[in-house]
């Protein structure tokens, strides 16, 4: 059966599943809408957290990034998993004991201040919006690459699905669809990985194949082979460190701490039955995440080896089918600089900027690519002086894997369904944060405390609906800097929420003045640094100009330190927190009373 049909079938089935779950999970109180009535079992919650966490970027993009970065890509592997240890040990159980609905809730109550709550809610909304626009864009792209649907309709369909189960079921609907989405995405990721591992190393377990010998190379280890191939072509050795140790340290720290400060991750721990379940849930979440995250670097190595073995010096007329397919999908571009009909792939940029393909329109109004003497697609870009002729989009590394490995069509369709599952699950989690921030933290707590539960639920649903529409809009018209903006979100979470919450739990002396000042300083510093180097003065964005050689991606770690220091200093010279807050902190630190009923409270 044709790939298209398989894709429609499999994607259609998964969508039907999500809708079915949404109908089953309809929320009728704010408790259910915000935190699933605290009834989610720890294992299911862990699975949902894993899906919520792993976005289209993790599923499609990460292996590609690591593939091109080699050892330096470790910052993403460690950075996006290590934060869960911080969550389990320093955050989740206490927030669950605290028992309210949202992260600004905790900040507002712990720091006995509407101002703190408002600062927190603006951070939560900003962080979640920047993140969610990238997801909707990802949904549109997967649709357009796999289902032959335009990006426009892809985003619309994605919006409709998320709208349905988020607005109807709230956190309950979202949680159980995320469980289903995890199953889809992990299956979709592992199947090609296992097949390719067998093809390249004979080992069916990708994590082990990663360190195994290459098939047909007389006992040479795959990584050594890849290092050799890379060096021969003028690239750095794959396993060799390229960035400075300090920058790698800072980026890893910013990502780990940012993870632990992201509102859509934190609220996942409000939904379990008991405090101890919050820790167990963190364990399950990391275990499920680790399955993908230990496979991805293996996939990166397999894909990179395949690329370096198959393409360099190959005549265009002899390239494998997948090359041409992805060239047609705008993800590969080749300029025959020396006119030898062969593809030279070495280090250095082939041309400036992103591929700008030369196209024309036929009488029917269809876009036809213009082709050169080898039948390759022509580009409008100006070639560089360097010998490299090839551009490969990093996203290919996962997308093209099933075809490179000659896997059956249904596997390719599965990858599409997996990518969509990853994007939709994360989008839903983010939209819920936006909706709860607006309805609960802003409307109910700040403006209209006398509001009834029923009215709040209506506002929450409306907020979710509007958030979907806005996210969809930005998915269709993304600001050009989506990927950078996501890094921004991490830096902000690291510099604002993480310190405020940690100090809230572990220090009885940290007060409102300290926390608010700390958050504002952390946010302002991090934002200014990132905006300067990513938007205002991009040309200067290199290790020579960065503070201590720390890139914008890592500056959140410095913002976090500033927050801690400023908070500490300010709190030392301002009044300590009132007794009832101190009692609350003491209560959060204590084990659950067996007879105490931690009912869904909203005080």
């Amino acid at each position: 059966m044709d790939v298209q049909y398989w894709t429609y079938l499999i994607v259609g089935l998964t969508f039907a599943l999500y809708i079915g779950i949404a109908i089953w999970a309809k929320a009728s109180t704010t408790g259910e809408f915000y935190i699933a009535g605290k009834g989610v079992p720890a294992l299911a919650n862990g699975m949902a957290t894993a899906a919520d966490w792993m976005s289209a970027a993790s599923f499609l993009g990460m292996a590609g990034i690591i593939s091109f970065a080699g050892y330096d890509g470790s910052v993403y592997l460690m950075g996006w998993t290590g934060g869960y240890v911080l969550l389990a040990l320093l955050l989740a159980p206490y927030l669950r004991k605290f028992g309210h609905f949202t992260v600004p809730d905790f900040v507002g109550d712990r720091y006995y201040s509407k101002t703190a709550r408002v600062v927190a809610l603006f951070c939560a909304i900003f962080i979640s919006f920047t993140y969610v626009c990238g997801q909707m864009r990802g949904v549109g792209i997967v649709f357009s690459k796999f289902l032959d649907v335009s990006i426009f309709w892809g985003v619309i369909i994605g919006m409709a699905i998320v709208f349905f189960y988020a607005v109807l079921g709230g956190m309950k609907g979202i949680t159980y669809t995320q469980v289903a989405q995890y199953c889809v995405l992990i299956f979709a990721f592992m199947v090609p990985a296992i097949f390719i591992s067998i093809q390249l190393t004979g080992n069916p377990i990708p994590q082990l194949g990663f360190g195994d010998t290459a098939v047909g190379s007389e006992g040479v280890y795959l990584l050594d082979k890849l290092d050799g191939l890379s060096q021969d072509l003028g690239f750095a050795k794959y396993t060799e460190r390229q960035g400075s140790k300090l920058d790698l340290f800072a980026i890893t720290l910013a990502l780990m701490v940012g993870t632990a400060g992201l509102p859509h991750v934190i609220i996942r721990f409000y939904t379990v039955k008991k405090v101890s379940a919050a820790r167990v849930s963190a364990f399950w979440a990391l275990l499920f995440i680790a399955i993908l995250y230990t496979t991805a670097p293996a996939v990166a190595v397999f894909a990179r080896t395949n690329l370096l073995e198959t393409i360099p010096e190959k005549a265009y007329s002899e390239v494998p089918g997948w090359f041409k397919k992805w060239e047609n999908a705008d993800l590969i571009a080749w300029i025959d600089k020396n006119k030898d009909g062969k593809i030279q792939y070495v280090a250095g940029k082939s041309f400036e900027g992103k591929p700008d393909y030369a196209v024309t329109q036929n009488d029917a109004g269809d876009t036809i690519p213009l082709r050169g003497t080898n039948d390759e697609r022509l580009l409008k870009n100006k070639p560089t002086e360097g010998a490299n002729e090839l551009f490969v989009d990093r996203d290919i590394m996962v997308l093209a894997n099933p075809e490179i490995a000659n896997l059956p069509n249904w596997v390719i369709a599965l990858v599409a369904a997996g990518g969509l599952a990853a994007a939709l699950s994360t989008a839903a989690g983010l939209l819920l944060v936006i909706s709860t921030s607006v309805a609960h933290d802003f409307v109910k707590k700040t403006i209209n405390p006398g509001m009834s539960d029923k009215s709040e639920l209506i506002v929450a649903r409306m907020a979710a609906a509007i958030a979907v529409l806005i996210a969809g809009y930005f998915g269709l018209h993304p600001p050009g800097f989506v990927a950078e903006v996501v890094a921004f979100a991490f830096g902000l979470a690291a510099a604002s929420f993480f310190p405020a919450i940690i100090m809230g739990i572990f220090s009885k002396r940290m007060n409102r003045e300290g926390a608010i000042t700390g958050m504002i300083v952390g946010i302002t510093f991090t934002t200014a640094y990132i905006i300067y180097f990513q938007f205002i003065n991009k040309a200067d964005s290199n290790p020579d100009h960065w503070w201590f050689g720390i890139s914008p991606k890592g500056i959140g770690a410095v913002g976090m330190l500033l927050n801690f220091v400023v908070s500490f200093v300010v709190s030392a010279v301002t009044p300590k927190p009132p007794q009832d807050v101190v009692d609350m902190i003491e209560n959060i630190r204590q084990p659950e009373d067996e007879d105490e009923e931690l009912e869904v409270s909203d005080h």
Binding site: S74, V85, R241, F249, T252, L253, P591
Partner: protein, 92 residues
């Protein structure tokens, strides 16, 4: 009310101290295995081979993640034990 909280606070500060001790131990390992083995000492560790991996590279790309999962598992077990011990005390 204050008598109860006095009893509570003796048991409860022991609980909190035990908690902090374990958090300290586990986070130290967390730090060593990721920042230490994976970044700061990666060049030295790479001299030791684990199959096709340099040991530092293995920690950075795979090993640290395994350790993270184990750390959380240990914390869950330890805290469940502590919870049992200190909740029972409170019931008296």
């Amino acid at each position: 009310m204050s008598e109860k909280s006095q009893d509570k606070s003796n048991g409860s500060s022991a609980y909190w101290r035990a908690n902090l001790k374990w958090v300290g131990i586990l986070l130290s390992i967390w730090f060593i295995v990721s920042y230490g083995c994976g970044i700061l000492f990666v060049d030295q560790l790479d001299k030791i081979r684990l199959g096709g991996f340099g040991l530092g590279f293995w920690f950075a790309q795979q090993g640290s993640i395994y350790v993270f999962v184990i750390l959380i598992a240990i914390y869950v077990k330890v805290m469940n034990r502590l919870d049992k011990k200190y909740s029972v005390k409170k019931k008296d």
